[in-house]
Every structure is written in C-alpha cells, then in structure tokens.
Amino acid sequence: MESENSLIGFSYLVASVCFILTLQFLSSPKLARRGVLIGVFGMTVAVIGTLMKPEIVVFKWIIPGVLIGSLVGGAMSAWIPMTKMPERIALSHAFGGLAAALVGISEYVRHDPHELTAVTITALGFETFFGFLTFTGSLMAFGKLQGLISGRPITFPGLNAINIAAFIGSLVGLIVFVMHPEMANIFYGICAVGIVIGVTAVIPIGGADMPVVISLLNSYAGLSSSATGFAIHNNVLIIAGALDGTSGFILSMMMSKAMNRSFANVLFGAFGTGDSTAAATSGDTRAPQYNQGTIEDAASTLEAAQSVIVVPGYGLAVSQAQHAVRELGQILEKRGAKVSYAIHPVAGRMPGHMNVLLAEADVPYDQLFDIEDINDDFAQTDVVLVVGANDVVNPAAKTNKGSPIYGMPVFNVENSKTVIVLKRSMNTGFSGLDNELFYLPNTMVVLGDAKKTLQKFKSELETRE
C-alpha cells in the first residue's frame, strides 16, 4: 500500500469528482466544453497531488517523459484530420493499455513478492494481462483501419478455440501465481499470453467491425485501469477505470444493437469483407436496371425541391465531402429549401462519426436529427440526398426477413418523392449486401466520388442563378 497523506488522498477525491462532472457535462453540446475544462483541472490536481508523494525522489525521468508525452499528444491532436478519428482512438487505447501493463510490471519488480497481498497480486495479474491485450489488440485494429494489415478476416479453423484455450490458460496461470507470487516466470507468461491474444483475437475480425472491437478494447482498458487502482489502492484509478469501462461497453452494445448483430457474432463471426470492391461482381450484373442520373438531372431536381434531407454515410468520410455537402446545403437554403441532416447511429465507422464531420463543416447541430426524430418526415420530403450511405438506407432491413440486417432500424428514404444517391460504383457497403433502393423508379444514382459530385452540383446550381 502506498503511503498517502490526506492532502494527496483529497486531491484524488477532487479529481474523481471532476471526471464525473466532465462526463455529466457531455450530455449537452452547450456545456460539454466546460466539462473538458473541469476534467483538465481535475487531472492537474491529481498530478500535483501525486508529485507530493514521498516515494517520488527523482524527476530526471518524469520531466522529459511528461514533455515528450505532451508534445506528441498535442501534435497528434492538433493535426489529425477528423476523418481519422477511429484510427486516433485505436492508437490511444494502445498507449493506455501499454501504460497500465508497464506500471503493473514495475510494481511487481520493485516489491518483494511476499510483501504483496493476494488482492494486489490478483490485481497486478489482471492489469498486465488486460493492459497488454488492449495494447496489441488496439495496434491490430489501428493497422486494419489504416490498411497496414488486410481488413479481411484472417482466420483458420480452430483459431477461436485456441484463443479461448489461451485465455483459460492464463486464468489458471493467475491462480497459480497468486499462490506462488515469487514465480516470476508465470507472471511474465501471463503477460506474453496477453500480448499474443491481443493479436490473434483481433486478426480474425473484419476491418469494418473494428469500431466495435475498439469500443470493447476501451472497456478492457477501463478494466485494466480499475485493476491498477485495486493494486496500488488508488480510488481515482478505480473510478476513472469504471467510467471508461462502462463507456466502452455501452457504446459497443449500442453499435451491435444498431447493426442488429450479437456481440458473439461480431467477435467470432468473421463478418464483413472490410473491402467493398470484393462484392463488385454481384453488383455489376444488375447494373442495367437503375436510373443513372447526370449532374444536370440531379441539379434540376434539387433546384425544384422545397425540402431536402441529406443522409450521410461512410462514403462522406472516405471522400471528405463534409465541406462540400455543407456548401451545397447553404445554396439550397438560400434558394428557399429546408435542409436537414438525418444521422443514423451507426452511419460511418464510429459512433457519432457523421456528427463530428458535419460539425467540422459548420453544420449547426440543431439541423442534425436522430432516426427517431426524422424517420416520419421522409414521406413529406421532396428530395433525399444519400451521400455515401448504403446499409443505413437499405429497405431490406424492413422487408426481407432473410437478410442478415433484417430488424436493423433504417431510414425510410424510399417514401420521399425522389432519392439521389451518390456513390462511386454499384458496389455494396459495409455489410456486403445489395441494396434494392438503388433500383427503385424514384431513385437516381449519380456515380462518382461524393465530394467531386457535390462540387459539380454546386457549380451547376450557381450557373443557373
């Protein structure tokens, strides 16, 4: 147990309250930034408190460590494009996991093992195991998102069984280790298994499922932080870990539910190709049946519209079309049309992905609507502009009981007068399923990169003014 005077302990209590407030303020976009300030304050208090600990005697590693970390963290945050947020978050889970695991090892190394209680030993085991698992798992997720590793599920028969066996093995190892804390090899063995499972459990999951994986790893990182708190008797770590863990867990549940898939299916189903060109052939055979629209056709339709709903999807992020869509929206508004944005909870590749991109392009958040709030309005809408969305507008989810996405809530875009779909080809989206929306008579497909197409719409409309 670390020696703590009550001032230090109190600083941690203050930090805990601040972190709770940070998350509480995130319930409203108006107050959320205040929450961040409070969080920064709490973190500062906790760090100052910690530096007052008598165990801390040398600063020659601390100062450069904090400096390097601040520089790297600051740089990463200042310059990363918003479209790369999933990658950014995967990477930071990797850092978090590594930090927890290393603290765990250093705690073990610097104590006489027999001084440590069974609780501490158990906590150290959890901390390092989940820390390393999060570390390598998040790196794999990052690699898949960045395309450094193939997004396809890489698997072979029996891999899941091997993973489960390794997991159980490390649990058994932990029990032995608690009874014989002096057996360092068992401890390092547990670490090694964590490192390996992180890789082998993520590799067989398709690239497009990475967001669920990342959220799940988030909850493991939380678990690992809480375990650290148990090991070094630090409540703020337990609290922060629990908040982090529940957040990851709730978001991953939310995503699986909105995708209408079970957790088990995500983790072990090797679902999704993560590579939309793979399904090209199936799409091409049906090519003749859809209305391909020209820029002029689409511009005329938009010109006549009194009400337009934009449905953005993953393709908006791919083509970075958020600014282009906003500019087009402004032109339509100036011409007197009402423009709204319909945001599906799993549009894009991360919860809240579309909201952030549109906010970046200065779309006011009171024009962004959740599915419950806008789904009845499509019937009274002149034009729906589908910008790189596919699965979230697939009517099969409502009508085709055999479809793997049957039951997933989708937008009723087909109820509007005209649907304009922007995509590059007739390829499928994330789920690899064909979308009959594209072949309906009131749908017009405009092929091409979303950003370029939107810009062409804009210039076409401007020439007509």
Partner: protein
Amino acid sequence: MAQDLLFSLYILVLAGFLGHHVISKVPHLLHTPLMAGTNAIAGISLVGSLVAAGGDFGNVPTILGFIAVVCATINTVGGFLITDRMLRMFKKKKPGAR
C-alpha cells in the same frame, strides 16, 4: 486486507452504476467526443506511472515507468485537446443566419 478489498469493491460498484447512468445520458451527437474524453480521463493512470518513474527502485521499474509516463501523458494531453477541438466545432444555428 479484506477490508481494503471491500472498500475498493464499493468504489468499483458505485462508479460502475454511476458510469452506466452518466454515459447513457450522452446523446448520439457527442459519441465521438465521448470516446476521446473517456480516453483522456483514463490517462489518469499517469498517477501510477509517475510513482514508478520517479521512485528510487532500480533501473527496470524506472525505465518502464518512463515509457508509461510518456504513453499516459500522450493520452491525457492529447485526449483533452482533441475532445475540445471536436466540441468547439459543434455550434447551434446562429439566430440571425438562416
């Protein structure tokens, strides 16, 4: 020992329930900042890293501690900055504009 464990369990249980309520109240709109924000908060593991890096416990713990300090600082500094950067972008329609 048992007493300590029990206390830690109390904290974990209460914080878990609290997390459930607080997180469920965050709207879809802010789910990406939420992910970045919890990341920043989890950077509190810095507190453990500082002890490892600043203590006089020999080379191995110190070097591990140093790496941990770097990682945790990246998370907490970077996390708060990017959360704020995102939140700054969320604006309500100006009443004057249309």
